[in-house]
């Protein structure tokens, strides 16, 4: 398309429609491997690729825009709501296609993340999105990544068509309870959100079955392979039973190898990179426990690929919301991402991390450390013989270092410097482990002392935590030594609070 003539007009549109889209946190391009092809443009890399980092430290992977910011709805937390007086505009399908293709050719982006205000109706909005998608895939032969936001209230038939061309679809839950939703998003309902979500899930299942695949193949390692993972109800219950009898948390099976990580071979046709959703943190009064239980339920019931959290930023002056200018609850968002990570890759469950009685995360300790100091009865762990899953639960040992220990110890004794080489953060881990029956330093296993130690180990960080508003320097991987990022993007986004 000839854009030279109207470049200023297009710049204005892009400014308005990317500004309106920026509060959606998901910008991942992960989940699907698709090779390039002659006569076409683009490919997709399952690990995802970030192309730049904005001034807020968040990764830019996709061209994240709204098709239009006109909207017939009036969600209280949203800048584009009908009752706000903001500049409104809309892209033409050709404009979206040219921007996507030309940005892509210059290696600015991995693809497109297209969302939209609802205008003039859910169906018409979705149809226009479909038109863009169709052009990109069929006319431009675009094989890069496309994430489409499903518009609540649109017909299933159109969702089904979109799902055949998109890589990922998402429907944002936005608020964890039906009550909050009613209060803040009067035109949406729990039902209008969950319906498209289950429709997408259903179509995913169908297309998977037609390829002879099961859901298991696509699930995160932690939820399916670890014995207390979200999809391992039976073995989790067994563990709980055994614990009552005083059995150790995990028992290493002799000679058992680690389950291997299988790569997905064929791409199924319907939403191959899976479905995700997003919840706003801090606009309403739900506790962390509540958020995590909902997250867990979403993974289980809808087989979502990801649940994203977005710290609420006060944009609208509304009595139902925190006042504009209230700092976004970034630390809380960060803790939720850490916990989400523990669910997906470390085989934890929400109810192990929080409870009705202690419904919020510790401000000073990350959820994994916090869990460990509350469960000193399981420690110290003997590194030479402990089960893989138990190693995973030691603060300072990440998924990758646990795997390395597992592999290395078969070939002989390890000592503490060896552990360091295997990637263990001894500063944290040493309280919780023995090696050949010996501790690194003689410290007794007392909750208060260890907590104090873990906290002072991060004195600087904690100073920031308590004295600075800026919690953002916190780095997930620093905190938990989660160096095993299964998706490189995950790794990067964690720190930007975008994971």
């Amino acid at each position: 398309m000839e854009i030279g003539k109207n470049i200023i007009g297009l710049q204005e549109k892009l400014r308005i429609l990317s500004d309106a889209a920026k509060y959606d946190v998901a910008c991942t391009s992960s989940g699907v491997d698709r090779k390039g092809a002659g006569g076409a443009i683009g490919n997709s890399v399952a690990a995802g690729i970030c192309h730049s980092f904005a001034a807020d430290g968040r990764c830019i992977s996709l061209l994240k825009i709204l098709l239009t910011n006109h909207c017939i709805y009036d969600c209280k937390y949203c800048l584009n709501r009908r009752s706000n007086d903001v500049e409104r505009t809309a892209f033409t399908p050709d404009e979206v296609c040219s921007l996507t293709i030309e940005f892509y050719r210059r290696n600015y982006i991995e693809g497109l993340f297209l969302s939209s205000g609802v205008f003039p109706s859910p169906n018409e909005t979705m149809e226009r999105i479909y038109e863009i998608l169709y052009k990109l895939r069929k006319v431009y032969q675009f094989r890069g990544y496309i994430h489409i936001k499903a518009i609540p209230g649109a017909d299933e038939t159109i969702l089904d068509e979109v799902g055949l061309l998109a890589d990922r679809m998402s429907v944002n839950l936005e608020l964890p309870t039906a009550d909050s939703l009613r209060a803040l998003a009067p035109h949406k309902s729990r039902d209008s959100i969950l319906k498209p979500m289950s429709r997408i899930q259903k179509k995913i299942v169908e297309s998977r079955q037609s390829m002879g695949q099961t859901a298991r193949l696509e699930r995160a390692w932690g939820v399916k392979s670890l014995s207390s993972g979200l999809f391992r109800e039976e073995s989790y219950q067994k563990r709980l039973e055994a614990e009552k009898d005083g059995a150790p948390l995990f028992v290493a099976e002799r000679g058992a190898g680690l389950p291997s990580v299988r790569r997905r071979q064929d791409i199924r046709t319907f939403v191959p990179a899976g479905q995700s959703t997003q919840m706003i943190v801090g606009a309403t009064s739900e506790s962390d426990y509540h958020m995590m239980m909902v997250t867990q339920a979403l993974y289980r019931q809808y087989d979502l690929k990801r649940v994203f959290f977005s710290a609420y930023i006060g944009l609208n002056d509304d009595s139902a919301l925190p006042a504009p200018g209230t700092p976004p609850p970034l630390l809380r968002e960060h803790r939720l991402y850490q916990a989400d990570w523990l669910l997906r890759f470390y085989g934890f469950r929400a109810e192990e991390l929080l409870s009705e009685e202690a419904p919020n995360f510790n401000v000073l300790l990350d959820p994994k450390c916090d869990w460990a100091v509350r469960h000193l009865e399981y420690f110290p762990v003997e590194v030479m013989s402990a089960d893989y899953e138990m190693l995973l639960r030691v603060p300072g040992i990440g998924a990758k270092s646990a795997r390395r220990i597992y592999n290395a110890r078969r070939f002989g004794r390890l000592d503490f410097p060896d552990l360091k080489r295997l990637g263990v953060v001894l500063k944290r881990a040493h309280y919780f482990i023995t090696l050949g029956g010996r501790q690194m330093f003689p410290v007794s296993l007392e909750e208060n002392r260890i907590t104090a130690g873990l906290i002072s180990d991060n004195r600087k960080k904690n100073w920031k935590l308590t004295h600075e508003e800026n919690y953002r320097q916190l780095n997930l991987f620093d905190d938990m030594k989660l160096e095993a990022a299964p998706e490189i993007e995950d790794f990067k986004k964690a720190a930007g609070g975008q994971l």
Partner: protein, 251 residues
């Protein structure tokens, strides 16, 4: 004590390994260096290694056969590093590798193994970052041109990705440190060629053109950041300043 001085190429390093091994002086009495990247010491004898395709091929074959294909890839990446100790690190790893075979790569508790891994990982990370941060500029003749200043010699690691992604485009990825480029013509295989700076400059001079998408990209880049979350430290952490030299959004 004898030092073997290798040329900066896979062949140079592998030949050095062959010669050092073959010298029969014993592993603890030899050390490999990169030509022009070492400090001569007293009581050391130094030998210039002339790259030799046959010796190099023998080393490559032994690594694949006696250790593993994966080990070869690790070694290959380590050899692309710019670190002065790279040849010797590979040599020390191969001692373990030929002794333990395929499992050697799992023996991360051994320093020689951990070292080669570390080197290889750094190069792989850098290569990955270039998949992210390379920016093409569209020239008058339609060529997509990108200049980079990598620490490691990454172009052979990044070119396959772009060949798969843009099979129908003419593109150039130019390493301005080593003055060489990966060049891809539409529909063909990519090649690596020497590309002297003067030639690159003249080419750009001739073909450079104002591109409306540059401004559009900058608009997007600046708008997409959320003011309330601004965090330059975090941004710098992921996108170190030295990468920005060639990145459209920072120019």
């Amino acid at each position: 004590m004898k030092g073997f001085l290798c040329e900066d190429s896979l062949e140079g390093i592998f030949t050095g390994i062959y010669d050092a091994w073959d010298s029969g002086l014993g592993h603890e009495n030899v050390k490999l260096f990169m030509k022009g990247q070492y400090e001569p010491e007293f009581f050391w004898e130094y030998e210039d290694v002339a790259p030799d395709a046959e010796k190099s091929e023998k080393v490559a074959r032994s690594i694949r056969r006696k250790i593993s294909g994966e080990a070869f890839r690790v070694v290959y990446r380590a050899a692309l590093s710019a670190r002065e100790e790279r040849a010797d690190v590979i040599y020390r790893f191969l001692i373990e590798g030929f002794c333990h075979g395929g499992v050697a790569l799992r023996l991360l508790q051994k320093k020689a193994v951990a070292d080669v891994f570390e080197l290889s990982r750094k190069v792989a990370n850098e290569a990955h970052q270039y998949l992210e941060f390379i920016r093409f500029e569209q020239l008058k003749n339609g060529v997509l041109f990108s200049a980079i200043s990598p620490r490691s010699r990454v172009i052979t690691l990044v070119a396959p990705h772009f060949a798969d992604r843009f099979p129908g485009e003419n593109w150039v990825i130019y390493d301005d440190v080593r003055e060489e480029a990966a060049i891809h013509m539409a529909g063909e295989e990519w090649v690596v060629a020497e590309f002297p700076k003067a030639q690159a400059d003249a080419f750009l001079e001739d073909q450079g053109e104002a591109d409306g998408y540059v401004d559009l990209w900058k608009v997007f880049f600046h708008t997409i950041s959320i003011k309330e979350r601004e965090n330059p430290d975090c941004q710098r952490n992921f996108l170190p300043l030295w990468y920005r030299k060639h990145m459209t959004e920072f120019l």
